[in-house]
């Protein structure tokens, strides 16, 4: 195991975060605060409780997940896309590091950043609405698992993308709609039966439902199913990355 190599990549990526602290941290916190003001305070005050949870508190897990998904994907995809774009990837390819080490470095740093951000958003939410966390260990578990899985997904996007436009297209066209339709702002039980069935094909539903369960003990789908779905997606991403490095697809000519 090339521990020094992993550490070098991890530090390099974390240094990038701290260099761009404003974009990396301030912007998502500001966006989330706006959500709380608009949906939590302004609109939420006119909304009834969902599963006996006040609307402001109900949307907290969904909002954290929304940021977590976006940040994990953008951090990791940008992290590996930049060296490809700048040409500095030659060094990574010629270094004595295995794909698993490269992955631990990049995905580890991206996941660290998004978990830090998730915690920061939870802290910010305290200023707007009171909430409790029923299963804190599970909450952290969901946070980590989601951050790692979606950082991995972002890493794949970064490997695949060959332009800045492509880097943006999947988060914008797929992830954002899936998150909004994934029950961040509502319970899928509020949907007509047919849409409830369709929603079950949306992986984000399981993430948000499981995460919300760790806060309030209520869930749209079984928690075990949630964990199973995230783990399954993690395995799919891992297998794909393994294949990418083995075949050299898009990175090694």
């Amino acid at each position: 195991m090339n521990i020094y190599g992993i550490r070098a990549i991890y530090r390099f990526e974390m240094a990038r975060t701290f260099r761009t602290l404003m974009e990396s941290v301030a912007a998502p916190v500001l966006t989330t605060s706006l959500y709380f003001i608009v949906f939590g305070k302004a609109i939420g005050s006119r909304m009834g409780d969902i599963d006996s949870i006040g609307y402001g508190a109900y949307i907290i897990p969904g909002l954290v997940m929304l940021s977590l998904l976006n940040e994990s994907i953008s951090n990791a995809s940008f992290g590996i896309y930049m060296p490809k774009w700048a040409g500095t990837i030659y060094e990574l390819l010629s270094a004595p590091v295995s794909w698993i080490e490269v992955l631990i470095g990049y995905v580890g740093a991206a996941a660290t950043k998004s978990v830090m951000l998730g915690m920061l958003i939870l802290g910010t939410a305290r200023f707007f609405v009171p909430y409790q966390i029923a299963h804190p260990v599970w909450m952290i578990g969901f946070l980590l698992l989601t951050a790692v899985t979606f950082s991995l997904f972002g890493f794949i996007i970064g490997l695949w993308a060959d332009s800045f436009q492509k880097l943006q297209v999947i988060p914008m066209l797929i992830v954002t709609p899936l998150t909004f339709l994934g029950g961040a702002f509502y319970s899928i039980n509020m949907l007509p039966p047919i849409w409830q069935q369709i929603s079950l094909f949306n992986p984000v539903v399981y993430l948000i439902s499981g995460f919300r369960w760790s806060f309030y003990g209520i869930a749209d789908v079984d928690v075990a199913v949630s964990i199973g779905m995230i783990s399954g997606f993690l395995m799919v991403c891992l297998t794909f990355v393994w294949w990418v490095f083995k075949s050299g697809y898009k990175i090694r000519r």
């Binding site: 090339n2 020094y4 190599g5 550490r7 070098a8 990549i9 530090r11 390099f12 240094a15 990038r16 260099r19 700048a86 040409g87 500095t88 030659y90 060094e91 990574l92 390819l93 010629s94 270094a95 004595p96 590091v97 295995s98 050299g248 090694r252 000519r253």
Partner: protein, 325 residues
Amino acid sequence: MNKSPTARLSAESSIPIISVRGVNKTYAGGFQALKNINLDIQRGEIFALLGPNGAGKTTLISIVCGIVNATAGSIIADGHDIARDYRAARAAIGLVPQELHTDAFESVWATVTFSRGLFGKPSNPTYLEKVLRDLSLWDKRNEKIMALSGGMKRRVLIAKALSHEPTILFLDEPSAGVDVELRHDMWRMVRELREQGTTIILTTHYIEEAEQMADRIGVISKGELILVEDKEVLMRKLGKKQLTLRLRQPMSIIPAELSNWSLTLCEDGHALVYSFDTQTEETGIAELLRALGEHGIEFKDLRSSESSLEDIFVSLVHRPMEAQA
């Protein structure tokens, strides 16, 4: 039976540090960049890979370094197969790429520290300080790379390649876009590295560079390694000398009396050029000059010149079959 340390050492030094066997590369589009390359690089030598643009120099280097996968063939670097035992092989190699690919926002110090770690070496600020000082980068260590000039960026890339103390150093077109001062600095540094035992492989299309630096020369053209030779031997073997006589009266044909010498007329008959082999004892110059005097052919000036590596190179690349024969 165990060999004595000295016997083992001399046996080791005769084993090539890089051994390329039957390497082919065909890109996805069908373009064959390398055709059955076989090449041995000796430990501690400076080897220059010469060839025109697009000949396959960078592809060959990229395969040895792990950036491009070979379609067929095998490569041993520092005793390790580059595919099966890639960690050990790559740890021994430093690469200075042709293009100035740098992390614009990083400081010089951060980028060399990163490179050292990436290649699996524990931090060693004393060593990195020495590398930066040798490359006149120490004063710039806290500056962002984007603030540096092109020449300085080239130095940063060299520092990165040396950060993990490689035994093999690849310099891909080190002089591209570099001013004279930096070029000479670089040549000095390369010689120092060789004295410390580093093996250096450089690609170039500046013949002067190969002529100045290399111990051996390989010429690559259209994906084929058409020649590998000791530089001195190559220059002796293919080197030709020419004697140019500027005539007082122009000549339309070479007189039959001078048919014993290989002469050509140049500059509309104003110059007579005599080509001779540098290897032979008798150059025939004295006899030629005597014959000219006897036949009343007067000249106002004479000049002799030796063919450079450039001439040899041009003749090889343009007539590879002829030159080999």
